[in-house]
Symmetry: C2
Subunit: 219 residues, 2 copies
DNA sequence: ACCTGAACACCGTTCAAGT
DNA sequence: ACCTGAACACCGTTCAAGT
């Protein structure tokens, strides 16, 4: 069968939006570019999607929802939390625009999914009910903070750069700061360029998990 | 002396930008609105500021730098870290646009200031050198995550709403989620509307501080 | 019900021309 | 050195008109 123009649908629109965002970043997604790729007019998209915000939220969820389907049934709660954290980290690494998008709407489905996944494991850890909300929030906020930070790093650099190059650049800026005003930041600049930020991200998760462990009543 | 048109300057431009952002949010800052308020043409601003990104970074730093000048000399490291965290939290509460802006550029001065302040206190806590970077990063990432989240909440609601109203709205959404898919989020929805999110923010800081305490070698 | 594409009301940014 | 403001190259979104 010959290739034929497919009918427009919300799914096709969201899929094309993800492609544009991956290929050209946040500024690459315009209704004109999107409608050109879909071989239609810009107005057609509005029949399936209310506006650009809704499109961005849908694109974020389309990438994150499958990424969050990780972790075996026999994981410990700590392992399951690390698995969620790594899934979000890697999704943002592969699609930096997600990092900025997650920070635009707090009740978007992707954010709720992350919170829910973490919260169940916090329950499984035996954290008292009154402290579960704070514990799950702390983990989610940390993960969101790292993701946003990494997305900003990626946006600041040239499109092709990988994480190692980004860290080199940041290390250079840190090392050139005023020693009187930024002694600490300068002192740790060396660690920045050598380290694996994925490992350090998980160290931070473990730090919070260690704090959460202290919330558990003595058995 | 009669009021007279002041000469344009970077400071006046940044000050007017902060006023516009506070009054009308991120979408309120345009070069046309800004130049109208400064009684000049849009092109004049470009003599003092390279572009809109630089203007936003300068506006963020103009609000955060003085806010970070808190804390007495006799604070414990923990107290000093909490003071920095609260300063950032309150600055974002009063100027929600800062929350989004902080997430746009990782090497901007406001972000570096926060990291430096926290890092010095982490040193003072006696954390081993090799772990200082991870500890300071974890705290900064958590603070950034909360700030971004709160800014998103504020943007989602009507301009006048205070934090209590925002939480009520979120609690309503959470309570209406599918029980099969979101049991944890639904279960804690009740805690959301009753609690003080400023207190809970500090609970999260304490959680990380507790984890960091475990990094200290036994004396 | 769904698509078309011109038109509207904006943007950030540039730049020749002024003082 | 600094300011002016028209103009350029875009945006998101709407809507009459089509099928």
């Amino acid at each position: 069968m010959a290739a034929r123009t497919q009918a427009l649908s919300r799914e096709r629109i969201v899929g094309a939006a993800v492609e544009l965002l991956d290929a050209a970043g946040e500024s690459g997604l315009t209704f004109r570019a999107l409608s050109a790729q879909l071989r239609t007019g810009p107005g057609a998209i509005y029949w399936h999607v209310a506006n650009k915000d809704e499109l961005l939220i849908a694109a974020t969820d389309a990438v994150l929802a499958p990424a969050l389907a990780v972790g075996g049934a026999d994981d410990t709660p700590q392992e399951a939390i690390r698995a969620v954290a790594v899934a979000v980290f890697d999704a943002i690494d592969g699609h930096p625009w997600i990092g900025s998008e997650l920070s635009r709407a707090s009740l978007q489905p992707a954010m709720l999914r992350i919170f829910e996944r973490i919260g169940r494991q916090v329950q499984a850890l035996g954290v008292p009910v009154a402290a579960q909300f704070a514990a799950a929030s702390a983990l989610r906020n940390y993960i969101l903070g790292v993701g946003v930070q990494n997305a900003a790093n990626a946006r600041a650099a040239q499109p092709g750069a990988d994480r190692t190059e980004l860290l080199e650049t940041a290390a250079g800026v840190w090392a050139s700061l005023d020693p009187g005003e930024f002694p600490f930041t300068r002192a740790v600049a060396g660690q920045l360029s050598g380290h694996d930020d994925r490992v350090q991200f998980l160290d931070g998760v473990d730090l919070i998990l260690a704090g959460i462990a202290g919330l558990r009543p003595p058995q």
